[in-house]
Amino acid sequence: MVVTDTLSETRLSQPILTVRGVSRGFARGSGEIRVLADVDLSLRSGEIVGLLGRSGSGKSTLLRIIAGLIRPSEGQVVYRGHPVGGPAEGIAMVFQTFALFPWLTVLQNVEAGLEALSVPAAESRRRALAAIDLIGLDGFESAYPRELSGGMRQRVGFARALVVEPTILLLDEPFSALDVLTAETIRTDLLDLWTERRLPIKSMLMVTHNIEEAVFMCDRILIFSSNPGRVAGEIEVTFPHPRNRLDPAFREMVDDIYAKMTARPSTGAAGQMPRLQLGSRLPPVSTNVIAGLIETVAAPPYAGKADLPEIARTLQLEIDELFPVAELLHYLGFAEIKEGDILLSSAARSFADLDTQTRKKVFAQHLLASVPLAQHIKRVLDERPGHHAPRVRFEQELEDHLSDGAAEETLDSVIDWARYAEIFAYDDQSEMFSLEDPGG
């Protein structure tokens, strides 16, 4: 295996693609909801750049803007000296869901991109077979995607993207739909091809929410913050390939990124998270997961204080799964999140030892005290003569602050928690909130 340090080369070369002041928003009521705000970045020859952030941070949107699939509301993407106004030549994409055509064989799928460019049949066949060979798919040429495992399908996705000989390869969470072992194999295969310079591409831009993956693969990591998405920090990764995940320096960098991602420099005092507002987005976190995390952190060896990266590793959670729960514990007054650590409050420590009924009561208190939306719904129901209120009333209020999907998700989350806490009831059939207790 050839080990190369591409960094020096990177610094010298001109950017092949520049993103300048790109924003993206959509109209909502009187104002506008921004998913992406004022993003700048450049991509140089010979580097792998990671866009790391949580869901809702607009990183996939940014990738699609770069690909010319979506237009930015403001700013522009300059590629080879020209602004990108549509799908551009030399920018190919690998999709999280593979996006293979189920009615085409592996070979036909790989050839599809060449066909679109009107490449003559014989040449197209030769190039497709070469790409299939390169990516380790030989023998599968005549198989249909549904006959393949997820890993093999994503290899087709790679072959299809590489065969058009792109300058830039865009990767949209390419490994997140795969199991851990498969993802690792394909990652290392790809990195081997990259470091051996056997890939026709000049640069890769990868969206991910997996911190370890970003540190493992990228030369540069851009950390995105959410609502609206913006670049919150940039980290250079200078370890030579192949990288060792157990190397202390590697681990330190992962921990460091965790700390950066849990701190919120843009809001309030240093490292302090703001309180929830009425229009805040609430993550779809089940009460079982909330209780589970409290129990795990309360129990030995953590005894109330734990390192988030370590929790993520032992529980096999992605940051997209762990962060929302940890933050929710923080908002509910069950924990404090600081510099990548989670510290249980005294309420949470006792919560771990309670029986189900008492847990529900404690949870109800915390929910009403710290989630304004739950408070608001409860107050409206209390005030109304019949103690009923339609869902649409609250949904419309939320839509002033959130996109359609987020408003719906937020309301569903609060319904789930309120049902557990037994503070109000909801009938999905009639879409009505009420104070009724179906039990009696």
């Binding site: 699609r64 690909a67 010319g68 699939l69 979506i70 237009r71 106004g85 549509g86 799908p87 030549e89 920018i91 190919a92 994409m93 999709f95 999280q96 869901t97 593979f98 996006a99 055509f101 189920p102 009615w103 599809a112 991109g113 066909e115 679109a116 460019l117 009107s118 249909y144 995607p145 549904r146 006959e147 399908r153 299809r160 058009v164 059939q429």
Partner: protein, 577 residues
């Protein structure tokens, strides 16, 4: 095939349709009918010079008649496909076109096909000086109108629901619009389209039989075919000939099933979108034969290559920037467009009302409404009766997979079999026992379409998850509780699908089933179908328009107020996946 049954449901799940545009679609449809009627009046004269082709009752002629009938079906199918691809694409790609086209389509499919056959016959005869060609075209048009709408809906919905990641992939790889259409959109729409084509073909046999012998005023137009043979046999009171024609139809449908339906379904299976692993793929010996015949492959290879090369062409420059969907919405243009459409609709509505008012009074309207309610009652009662009979039977069959495998093709066959071929048998019985036609003619309207309920219920039961059945027996759920809580909710979506099809077919069938004859004996039940049939025979155009309009309104109201809420409920609450 459970999966397919659900796919067919696509045509009724029309969440995307803006209701307020119905107000516009209705008048437009009837405006077009009026145009046809105008043409009809002016072209009645040349009809008298038409030399009627005579149909012989000799059974030896039946193969030729069957062939001609089948050719009419295929011609109509070709026309339907062409219509589907153009209309469906236009509706899916243009927002302004969609606003008009989709409600229009929705109304069109509630207009009884056999209602306006009188207009179209005369209209097409006037188009073709060669006359026979005109009559052929009219019959083909009638079959076309019975086939095209659900296919178009299916295609349109496939285009609208094409998965986003694949759309992005085609754009990222810079497919031109033409390439995207053939490489992505058409294949994605294929399974739904093929299934709806097959359903349309099944339904079409009924209309081809009905449209081959048409009486408008004092003129009867006969086209050599199965339907004309039946009409002749009925006129001559020849029961043996009825037997022959039934036999011929059975053979035709079996051949059609083996040589067309199964190969197409087996072929279309490769376009199935679900990425899940292999399940029992539909097979067809005929398709295998075609694919394995080297001679055939060689002969058709040039055609194959031509088509492939055509699909590969870009027909657009590589550097076109139009691939990104436009997001600009021009308010002013939208307003002008809306006003123009509304104006056209108002004008059409005014012309229709003016025309109908010239020939009918308020008494007629009230009378037609009353008759409409009779037919409505018939449809409702018979669907209920059919449900009571076929749900228990279908469930029992579906629970036994081996039996179901044998019964399911039979149910599909029965659904395709044109029930009007069997009408004479019922008529003879009613005449013989002197039964009350208001009651005893009623079963005829559901004779052909009740099978949709049966085979959907069987499909639903077969698709019912085994876990649930085991859980039910584990908790000893039996009897009424088992029906109420275990199986009925599980098959409900399938039942609704079947019942919608059955009800739609029943409305159409009422036009031929409420007024029947045997030789000189005429039996008529009170109902809107008989009203339309009698006025067609009398060539009383304003009354025909009135009858069709009222039937369309009833069908639409029935769909909106009963079927659509039921379907939404089933989709929402009772899905098992």
């Amino acid at each position: 095939m459970p999966e397919s049954a659900i796919r067919y449901a696509g045509l009724t799940a029309r969440g995307l349709i803006p209701n307020r545009w119905d107000v516009i679609a209705f008048p437009l449809v009837f405006g077009l009918l009026l145009l046809a009627a105008k043409g009809a009046h002016e072209t009645l004269a040349p009809l008298s010079s038409l030399k009627e082709p005579v149909v012989s009752l000799d059974p030896l002629n039946l193969p030729e008649y069957a062939l001609r009938t089948t050719l009419r079906m295929l011609a109509a199918m070709a026309a339907s496909l062409l219509f589907t691809v153009t209309y469906g694409t236009l509706a899916a790609k243009s927002r302004r076109a969609e606003l008009v086209l989709i409600p229009l389509l929705d109304i069109l499919q509630s207009v009884p096909v056999l209602g306006y056959i009188s207009f179209t016959v005369v209209f097409f005869m006037s188009l073709f000086p060669g006359r026979v060609a005109g009559a052929e075209a009219a019959a083909i048009f009638a079959i076309f109108t019975s086939q095209a709408w659900n296919m178009t809906f299916s295609f349109y919905q496939s285009l609208r629901t094409a998965p986003r990641d694949l759309q992005e992939a085609t754009r990222n790889f810079r497919f031109s619009a033409w390439q995207r259409f053939w490489r992505f959109e058409v294949p994605f729409a294929m399974p739904g389209l093929v299934w709806n084509m097959m359903m349309s073909m099944s339904g079409g046999w009924f209309f081809v039989v009905a449209s081959e012998a048409i009486t408008v005023g004092d003129k009867t137009i006969t086209l050599p075919g199965i339907g004309a043979y039946l009409a002749q046999a009925t006129a001559e009171k020849d029961l043996a000939a009825v037997g022959w024609v039934v036999l011929a139809m059975i053979i035709v449908i079996i051949l059609y099933d083996q040589l067309m339906f199964r190969p197409l379904v087996a072929w279309a299976d490769k376009f199935r979108f679900e990425q899940t692993g292999p399940q029992t793929a539909p097979g067809s010996w005929f398709l295998d034969l075609l694919q394995q015949s080297r001679l055939l492959q060689t002969l058709t290879a040039p055609g194959h290559q031509l088509l492939r090369a055509l699909a590969r062409r870009r027909f657009a420059p590589l550097h076109s920037r139009s691939t990104s969907p436009s997001e600009t919405r021009s308010g002013a243009l939208d307003l002008i467009w809306s006003i123009a459409v509304a104006g056209a609709a108002l004008f059409a509505a005014w012309r229709v009302i003016e025309y109908v008012a010239s020939g009918v009074g308020w008494d007629d309207v009230l009378n037609a409404l009353k008759l409409g309610l009779f037919t409505l009652t018939r449809v409702v009662v018979l669907i209920a009766v059919a449900a009571l009979i076929w749900i228990p039977i279908g469930v029992e069959i579906g629970l036994r997979p081996r039996v179901a495998e044998k019964i399911q093709p039979l149910a599909q066959f029965l659904a395709a079999f044109p029930a009007n071929l069997l009408f004479p048998v019922f008529v003879v019985t009613i005449v013989h026992f002197d039964l009350n036609p208001d009651i005893w003619l009623s079963p005829l309207i559901i004779l052909g379409t009740q099978w949709y309920i049966l085979f959907n219920v069987i499909a639903g039961t077969m698709a019912y998850p085994n876990d649930f059945r085991e859980a039910a027996s584990n908790f000893r759920m039996r009897g009424w509780q088992w029906w109420r809580q275990v199986i009925l909710p599980g098959i409900f979506p399938y039942f609704v699908t079947g019942a919608i099809t059955a009800a739609g077919g029943a409305w159409n069938a009422s036009i031929v089933a409420e007024a029947v004859s045997w030789g000189d004996t005429k039996i008529v039940a009170q109902g809107l179908g008989a009203y339309i049939a009698e006025n067609t025979a009398a060539a009383d155009y304003p009354k025909i328009v009135l009858g069709i309009a009222i039937m369309s309104i009833l069908v639409t109201a029935f769909n909106r107020l009963l079927w659509r809420p039921l379907y939404a409920y089933a989709e929402d609450r009772l899905r098992l996946d």
